[in-house]
C-alpha cells in the first residue's frame, strides 16, 4: 500500500459497531461532540464490510453481537489492515477478565466497560488517534527509506556490476545477506585482451560497507582500461581506500589476471584461498599474502603466484561467507564440505563448479538465515581469447598524406637501471595517445604492439632471459620467477621508447621505435625460419603477433632496435 492510499483513511470517521440502536445513539452523541462523524454497523459482518468500504480512522466495537461477534470481527479487520494501523476500542457491558483478555488478543487496542463517563471514552479516543498519527509517520518514513534503498541499489548495481565483461564464460554468483552486499565482483579487459577479475569483500555488510565500492570500481576499471598491470591497480585501490575509509572499514580482496597466452597471475589479500582446478582436481591454492586493502598507508611488496592455465581448467574465487555459512545447529559449512561437493561424482556430471557448491551449501544451511554475503566466481581457462581485441585495421588508409596537412607529434621515454622495474612506459605512451587523439578501439592494438615489443626488449635485451625456457610448462613458471628475481636486483641496462603519431585524412599512423641496451639477436635467421610459428613454440609468438598487426616491422642494430608502423582508420 502506498503513502497516497494510506492517506485515504477517513480521518474524521468513527465506525460504531453495536446491535443495540440505543447504544449506537449514545456513542454517536459522544463522537459528534468531539467534532467527529459516526457510521454504524449492527453486527460483525457489517463491521468488516464497512471498514473496507469507508476506511474509518477508529472503531468502537461491541463484544456480543448476533451472527459474528466483535472479537471475531476485530480479528478479521486487523488481518485485513495488515500494515495499516486501525485502532479498535471494545465497548461492552459484559464483565470478566476473560473477555478483556480475548478482546486484546484478537487485536483490540483498548477496552472500556459500560457504564462509563464521557471523559473516559474521549481520553481514550484522543490517545489512540495520537498513536495512529505516529504510526502513520513511521510508516511513511519507512516507505521513503525503502524507496531510497531501492534507488541506491539500482544505481549501485547499474554503476558497478553492469559493466562487467567476459560473462559468456565467467560464472559469478552473489547472495547478499541484506539488500546491499559488501561483496563486489568486477571484471575488465586490459587493452591487449588480458582479463582482470576482482573479488572484494568490504568489512561487514549493508549500506555502510558498500561506501567504498564506487571508488573501488572506478579505479579498477579506469586503470585496467589504460593497461596498467594488476600490481599498480591494487596499489592505487589501497591508496584510495586508505584515504577514504574510516579505520575499521577495509576490503579483503583477490585479483586474477588471465592473460591472453593462458598465464594466470593471482594475488590474494585477505580472502580465502583462490583455487585452481584441473580436471576436477585441486592443483593450486593461492593463500592470502597481504593484509586487506585500506589498512596500511602503502601496500607491501605484492607477491603474485603464476600459473599456466589450460582452456579446460578453472580458477575459483570465494568470499568467506561461503565457508562460514552456518546451519541451525551452529556448524559451519567449511572447506571440507566444499571440496566434497566439488569432487562429488554425483554433482560433477550434473552441475557446474559454482552450482555444485551452491547445491551442497543449500542442502547444509536449509532455511537458517544467512549472516554474511556469499560470493563465488568461477573463471574457466577459456575466458580470454587472443582474437578478441586484435581486429587488425585493414589498409583502408592509403598513403594519402598531404604534406600541407602536417599534424605530427613525438613522445619518448628512456628508462635506465632500476627505473625499469618501477615505471611502465607502455601505460604512459597509451595515455599520451588517448589524451591527444581521443578514445578508440585501435589503441587496444597499439597496446598489444607496445607491450610485446617492450617486454621483448626488457626480458631478452636487458634481463637476458632465454625465451626457449618457456617451451615447457615447468620452464614457464621458472621463467617468471627468474624474471622477478632479475628485475629486483636490476641496476644496469636501458630501454628507450619512442612514439610518433601522424594524423591522416581518416585516421592516423603510429610509428614506434624501441631500443634496448642488449646485444640483440640473430633476427635475420629468425625471420627466415618461416616455420618457427607453426611448430607450437611458446616463444616467438610476440613477434608473430606484432608482424600481423603492423604495416611494417624492421629490426636493426643487430636486433637491439625495432621500428614498426601501424596505421588505423577512424570511424
Amino acid at each position: 500500500m502506498t503513502v497516497a492510499e494510506k492517506l485515504q483513511t477517513n480521518l474524521s470517521l468513527v465506525l460504531i459497531a453495536d446491535d443495540m440502536t440505543l447504544n449506537q445513539r449514545l456513542l454517536e452523541k459522544m463522537v459528534v461532540n468531539m467534532g467527529l462523524v459516526a457510521e454504524f454497523a449492527s453486527d460483525g459482518f457489517e463491521a468488516v464490510e464497512k471498514y473496507l468500504a469507508l476506511k474509518p480512522s477508529l472503531i468502537l466495537m461491541d463484544v456480543n453481537m448476533p451472527g459474528m461477534g466483535g472479537i471475531e470481527a476485530a480479528r478479521q479487520i486487523k488481518h485485513l489492515a495488515a500494515d495499516n494501523f486501525i485502532p479498535i476500542i471494545f465497548v461492552s457491558g459484559a464483565e470478566g477478565q476473560d473477555i478483556i483478555r480475548n478482546a486484546i488478543d484478537a487485536g483490540g487496542d483498548d477496552f472500556i466497560q459500560r457504564p462509563f463517563p464521557f471523559e473516559l471514552l474521549e481520553g481514550k479516543i484522543v490517545a489512540l488517534r495520537r498513536i495512529s498519527e505516529l504510526y502513520q509517520q513511521v510508516a511513511e518514513l519507512n516507505q521513503i527509506r525503502q524507496s531510497e534503498v531501492e534507488v541506491a541499489e539500482q544505481l549501485f548495481s547499474g554503476a558497478i556490476e553492469s559493466s562487467n565483461v567476459g560473462l559468456e564464460t565467467i560464472r559469478m554468483h552473489k547472495q547478499p545477506a541484506t539488500t546491499f552486499s559488501g561483496d563486489v565482483q568486477l571484471t575488465a579487459y586490459r587493452p591487449n585482451g588480458d582479463l582482470n577479475i576482482l573479488l572484494g569483500d568490504f568489512t561487514g555488510h549493508g549500506l555502510t560497507s558498500t561506501l567504498g565500492a564506487l571508488p573501488l570500481a572506478e579505479t579498477f576499471r579506469a586503470m585496467t582500461a589504460k593497461g596498467y598491470a594488476a600490481e599498480e591497480v591494487i596499489a592505487q585501490i589501497n591508496a584510495k581506500l586508505y584515504r577514504l575509509l574510516p579505520t575499521g572499514l577495509f576490503l579483503a580482496v583477490a585479483v586474477v589476471t588471465l592473460e591472453v597466452d593462458g598465464t594466470a597471475r593471482i594475488w590474494n589479500g585477505g580472502l580465502p584461498d583462490v583455487m585452481v582446478f584441473s580436471q576436477g582436481e585441486l592443483v593450486q591454492r593461492v593463500s592470502s599474502s597481504h593484509p586487506p586493502l585500506g589498512i596500511l598507508p602503502q601496500v607491501n611488496e605484492l607477491s603474485f603466484e603464476i600459473s599456466n592455465i589450460q582452456p579446460e581448467d578453472h580458477i575459483l574465487m570465494i568470499s568467506d561467507g561461503v565457508i562460514e555459512a552456518e546451519n541451525a545447529e551452529g556448524d559451519m559449512f567449511g572447506e571440507a564440505r566444499m571440496f566434497a561437493a566439488i569432487t562429488d561424482p554425483q554433482y560433477r556430471h550434473k552441475y557446474s563448479l559454482v552450482d555444485s557448491i551452491l547445491t551442497s551449501l543449500q542442502h547444509f544451511v536449509r532455511d537458517f538465515p544467512q549472516r554474511d554475503d556469499i560470493s563465488l566466481i568461477d573463471i574457466p581457462g577459456n575466458s580470454v581469447q587472443s582474437e578478441r581485441s586484435f581486429t587488425a585495421t585493414s589498409q583502408l588508409v592509403s598513403d594519402s598524406e598531404d604534406s600541407n596537412d602536417l599534424d605530427v607529434w613525438d613522445w619518448g621515454l628512456e628508462l635506465q637501471g632500476r627505473s625499469l622495474a618501477r615505471i611502465d612506459p607502455v601505460a604512459q605512451a597509451l595515455s599520451r595517445l588517448q589524451e591527444s587523439e581521443g578514445e578508440g578501439e585501435h589503441w587496444h592494438t597499439v597496446f598489444s604492439i607496445l607491450t610485446e615489443l617492450y617486454v621483448n626488449a626488457l626480458d631478452h635485451g636487458v634481463l637476458k632471459l632465454e625465451s626457449s625456457l618457456k617451451d615447457s610448462p615447468e620452464g614457464f613458471a621458472r621463467y617468471f620467477s627468474e624474471r622477478e628475481k632479475r628485475l629486483e636486483t636490476l641496476s644496469w641496462g636501458s630501454v628507450s621508447v619512442h612514439v610518433q603519431h601522424a594524423r591522416l585524412a581518416a585516421g592516423g599512423r603510429v610509428f614506434i621505435r624501441i631500443e634496448d641496451s642488449g646485444d640483440g639477436f640473430d633476427y635475420e635467421a629468425w625471420l627466415s625460419n618461416e616455420n618457427a610459428f607453426n611448430i607450437g613454440m611458446l616463444s616467438g609468438r610476440g613477434i608473430e603477433l606484432v608482424s600481423g598487426l603492423c604495416e611494417s616491422v624492421e629490426y636493426s642494430n643487430h636486433g637491439a632496435t625495432v621500428e614498426v608502423v601501424y596505421v588505423y582508420s577512424r570511424h
Partner: protein, 102 residues
C-alpha cells in the same frame, strides 16, 4: 557482557577479554574497554582464548584499538587465539602489524 576489561593499578596495562562470539555485537563494549585509557605507552592485551568465532568487523575493532594505542605510542597484543581465530588473523595478515602471542 560480551567483553570484560581489567586495568592494572598503574593504568598502564589493560587486559581485554572477549567472549565466544567476537563480532559486531561486541562493538560498543569493546570500545568502552579502552577508550578512556590515555596513559602514554599503555599496553592493550586482547585475550582471545574464549573466542571461537571472529568476523571482519572484529578485525575492524582491533584496528580501531591499534589506532588508539598508536596515538599513545602504546602497544596491542593479541593473545591466545584458538586455531580458527588464528586462521582468520593470518588470512588477514594481521601478524604483519600486530603482535600475536600463542
Amino acid at each position: 557482557m560480551s567483553v570484560t576489561a581489567k586495568t592494572s593499578d598503574d593504568k598502564k596495562t589493560v587486559d581485554i577479554c572477549v567472549a565466544e562470539q567476537f563480532d559486531y555485537s561486541a562493538h560498543q563494549s569493546f570500545r568502552e574497554a579502552y577508550r578512556f585509557v590515555d596513559q602514554p605507552g599503555a599496553m592493550f592485551r586482547v585475550d582471545l582464548s574464549k573466542a571461537t568465532y571472529m568476523d571482519s568487523s572484529a578485525l575492524g575493532m582491533i584496528l580501531l584499538l591499534k589506532e588508539h594505542a598508536d596515538t599513545l605510542s602504546g602497544k596491542v597484543v593479541l593473545a591466545k587465539p584458538n586455531p580458527a581465530v588464528h586462521k582468520i588473523l593470518s588470512i588477514a595478515k594481521f601478524d604483519q602489524f600486530v603482535t600475536i602471542e600463542a
